[in-house]
């Protein structure tokens, strides 16, 4: 079962490659799972072998079961009480997503970018991703906390539809507390309404796919630990 889940992600990447990345989400998510498992089982080599994924809801991860290469064992992922093991925290591994005022709608022009993020995660099955939602200061503190969460959820949902399993994704609202720009003008507000990506790279596990291929890292910069 766990293997099948991961195979599904392989197939999604294959499907994306086949139909192109533009507005592919609906097609991707509608493909029945069984077919995907079969397709995925063939393996295409792009993603560095197969492996199990953790239980999408909670708990310890699977221990593999795929056959496409040396076994890799993705960790348990994000749980209610934190992370298993040591991780390097890489902020801004991917560029930010910006939102309209009082909105959590994903800008359509950012879909290709989000697709790239999804591809990266599929290719690096042991990496976990936290999506932070931020707001400008034009809203009450209480409301901005919920709005920031909805922004993060919108991004996480898109990644999930692109094949990233749920337990590898976490959302965190920062409300209005962490503006990138201090200022009370239109430009500052626009810059502060955003989603940010924080990548968690396990220190003890290989960073790349298990077949030795080097997945493309997107603007991966040295991490700064969150406070």
């Amino acid at each position: 079962m766990q293997g099948a889940t991961y195979l599904k992600t392989l197939a999604v990447v294959a499907a994306l490659a086949a139909i192109g990345c533009k507005s592919a989400t609906t097609d991707v998510t509608n493909i029945p799972g069984k077919t995907l498992a079969t397709n995925g089982g063939n393996g295409n080599g792009n993603t560095g072998g197969t492996g199990g994924t953790g239980n999408p809801d909670l708990g310890p991860g699977g221990t593999g079961g795929g056959t496409g290469g040396p076994e890799i064992t993705p960790g348990p992922g994000f749980g209610p009480l934190g992370l298993p093991g040591e991780h390097e925290i890489v902020r801004d591994a991917f560029r930010k997503i910006h939102f309209a005022y009082d909105s959590a709608e994903l800008p359509p022009e950012d879909l290709p970018h989000i697709t790239k993020v999804a591809e990266y995660l599929v290719q690096n099955p042991q990496h976990l991703l936290e999506v932070e939602g931020h707001c400008d200061e034009r809203g009450t503190e209480d409301y901005n906390l919920s709005l920031g969460e909805r922004r993060a959820q919108a991004i996480a949902q898109a990644l999930s539809e692109l094949g990233v399993t749920a337990n590898r994704l976490a959302t965190k609202s920062m409300g209005e507390k962490m503006p990138v720009v201090q200022g009370s003008d239109k430009e500052s507000f626009a810059a502060n309404r955003r989603g940010e990506f924080v990548l968690y790279v396990p220190l003890a596990a290989p960073a790349n796919g298990a077949n030795g291929a080097t997945p493309q890292r997107i603007n991966l910069t040295p991490g700064v630990a969150t406070p």
Binding site: D57, L58, F78, G79, P80, L81, G82, L83, P84, G85, E86, H87, E130, E137, R138, G139, T140, E141, D142, Y143, L145, S146, L147, E149, R150, A152, Q153, Q157, A170, T171, K172, S173, M174, G175, E176, K177, M178, Q182, S184, T226, P227
Partner: protein, 384 residues
């Protein structure tokens, strides 16, 4: 604590009801801090300081190091009380005298002895929870987490509080609702599911309202009395009150614990709503005349809901608890009622979101008194 002895109490004093006019009061004979405290307290509770000739009531006495006397009479020379208060710091004695004065004049209980919770920015990217007297004096930091913290909320018995902290546990920073016992100082993780954890509004029976996104949308959940997070890591014993993508925020209970009011969006429109504590249909609380209402706060007498309107800036509004015509009072946000259901503490931006100051509104008289500024911007006061 202080000791108060009265040789006379309300012997024929003309008593004013809960009128919407400032009560003219003169204070005589007090010095320094005590004189300032008396004037501030009485103004907060609906009085104005006037010369003796213009006063409806005169409060006269003397203050020593640990002693305070007070004689209250009205302008027809009827005596209200003759008090001797001692055994505590001057501010404590002065607050006690203010309360006694308000009780004698209006028949209402004062709020000068109460305490507040609030957040304060203490460093770049750091906030802590503070407790202080209602007037902002004697602040004490309750946390030292050097992180973000929001939404401090009293437990109904005021023996503890809940707040939302961005704690790092297990290598992961996440929103965490913390339960903090003020008697023992003990803190525990009350809720830390994946995603958003906030809220922490406790009903009189111990049920705690939470806003969680553990199931992909921010929804309102109830944790039953004595519920424990670590024994319910999947949240199977939580009661889910809503199922909708729209944001929810600021849960506030009716004082009888029968209804939970919160803010959400209905058809894209910011709205105040309520849901029965046992679950059921969401009921709209109309706020006629108000624009983008958020941050509801239910008054302790059950009659009113204060909220923040966002129109240009932010304004404090009040609407009957069942909904109806909203009245907008003054610039400000983050409203919270005092126990007298008459005063509302709130914050006001003084040049940016990080420079918020607290102020107190007296609803019947619409008088606003600013609290002293702190070194850092403050937010989200909660009133005992």
């Amino acid at each position: 604590m202080f000791v108060m002895t009265a040789s006379t109490w309300a012997a024929g004093l003309q008593v004013q009801g809960n009128v919407g006019k400032l009560i003219p009061v003169a204070i005589k004979g007090y010095t320094g801090e005590v004189a300032k405290v008396l004037a501030f307290d009485l103004q907060v509770m609906g009085c104005k300081m006037v010369p003796e000739a213009d006063a409806s009531y005169v409060l006269e006495g003397k203050n020593g190091a640990e002693n305070l006397t007070g004689i209250l009479r009205d302008n027809a020379s009827n005596f209200g009380f003759n008090l001797n208060i001692n055994g505590a710091a001057p501010r404590v004695l002065a607050h006690a005298l203010s309360n006694a004065t308000i009780k004698a004049i209006t028949g209402q209980n004062g709020i000068a002895h109460t305490r507040i919770l609030f957040t304060m920015k203490t460093a770049a990217r750091e906030w802590e929870v503070f407790q202080s007297d209602f007037d902002g004096h004697n602040p004490v930091a309750l946390t030292n987490d050097k992180s973000i913290v929001q939404n401090p909320m009293w437990m109904p018995n005021h023996g503890g509080l809940f707040y939302t902290s961005w704690m790092t546990i297990g290598g992961l920073q996440n929103t965490t609702v913390v339960k903090h016992n003020l008697q023992t100082g003990k803190r525990e993780v009350f809720s830390r599911y994946k995603g958003l954890n906030t809220g922490g509004a406790m009903a009189p029976n111990g049920t705690v309202a939470l806003i969680l996104s553990k199931n992909k949308s921010t929804d309102v959940y109830l944790a039953p009395p004595k519920w424990e997070f670590l024994k319910d890591i999947k949240g199977e014993n939580l009661i889910r009150l809503t199922r909708a993508r729209e944001e929810k925020s600021s849960p506030t209970w009716s004082p009888d614990g029968q209804w939970l009011c919160f803010h959400t969006l209905i058809g894209g429109k910011h709205s105040l709503v309520k849901i029965p504590a046992g679950g059921g249909q969401m009921v709209s609380i109309p706020t006629k005349g108000a624009f983008r209402p958020t941050q509801p706060s239910w008054s302790p007498d059950g009659k009113w809901i204060a909220f923040t309107q966002q129109r240009g800036g932010f304004q404090i509004g009040v609407v009957p608890a069942a909904g109806g015509n909203a009245k907008i009072y003054c610039e400000g946000e983050d409203p919270a009622w005092a126990s007298n259901s008459r005063n509302i503490i709130f914050t006001r931006r003084a040049g940016g979101v990080n420079k918020k100051r607290m102020a107190i509104l007296d609803v019947p008289t619409e008088q606003v008194k600013m609290l002293p500024a702190f070194t850092g911007g403050v937010g989200q006061p909660a009133w005992q």
